[in-house]
Symmetry: C2
Subunit: 182 residues, 2 copies
């Protein structure tokens, strides 16, 4: 018998599920980002600390992310466009889900790749047409997965990943966002 | 008279708005991300090309973004959590808007910092309670802005940035996301 190993500690996740059922306050996480404007539309956002399991937590490394606009928007392109970060998060979240679900179902993955495409009518953000929304019109994710499984099994893994994805939910359903000046 | 310079070419944006009013097809952008699974819940997403103004475009640099889960999720923390990328995008988008609107209104910025916090009940993604959503419960953005302007003027700039923000819209309103296996 071959051991299935996608590198996901599924037992720890199943244990956490049981523990958090009886300790909902420990399940309340706060993720944080701190940004500083550089110049123009260029800014840098730092991620390091978050709150969860009832206490302050720190990522292994502090990381920085540059945002800017491309040259076609008359900017310097010193970082990706902010809206592209949503595609990064979506790809990472669905891929993590694929690995976790495959592990839980005893299916060995060999490779998982995804292409994410977001359609965006920039007349919205430019104020050229008030009927055009500011955000994406729609987003399409295409997975290429090589695994010891049938096409149907792979499709079922992807469907389950989508069903439990934090970022998929955040993009397909509305979230209250409050913006304040200190 | 002092020249106001926040580094934003507002005239180019106003010109683009006028041009795109008569050329809606040129305003159709497609932003793209390509991700590859590493192991566990760790993946790497690459951003380089996009489509816009009727043709293929390329960022000045190809950039890579690591996604993983932290140690408290029994993972390796080789990158930020996918849902944190949404906060990066939100901070970058609202900050770019603040700089652009301030430039358009002739207000000199000295510093712009933002803290973004997303509240997340992880019982959703763990499947511990089907009444808990997978994504953020809510997101709060707090700006600290030093500028040659009154508190009211600064608040008005932030409000206008929010009104034209692609990422603010993408998080506060639903978007269709289609996920397929090739």
């Amino acid at each position: 018998m071959t051991t299935i190993d996608n590198g996901v500690n599924v037992q720890a996740l199943l244990d956490a599920r049981e523990v958090l059922k009886g300790a909902p306050e420990a399940a309340q996480f706060t993720w944080r980002a701190n940004s500083k404007w550089t110049t123009g539309v260029h800014s840098t956002t730092t991620i390091e600390k978050f709150f969860g399991l009832g206490q302050e937590q720190t990522h292994k490394n502090q990381t920085e992310y540059a945002s800017d606009h491309p040259a076609v928007f008359a900017a310097e392109d010193n970082g990706i466009t902010p809206i592209e970060y949503l595609l990064v998060g979506l790809a990472g979240c669905l891929t993590a889900g694929v690995a976790s679900v495959a592990q839980n179902r005893g299916i060995q993955l060999r490779s998982v790749e995804a292409t994410v495409e977001g359609s965006h009518d920039i007349r919205g953000i430019l104020g050229a047409d008030s009927d055009v929304r500011n955000g994406y019109n729609d987003i399409k994710v295409t997975f290429h997965i090589d695994a010891d499984a049938s096409k149907e099994e792979i499709e079922a893994i992807v469907a389950q990943s989508q069903k439990r994805s934090a970022v998929f939910d955040a993009l397909t359903n509305p979230t209250d966002v409050t913006v304040e000046v200190a």
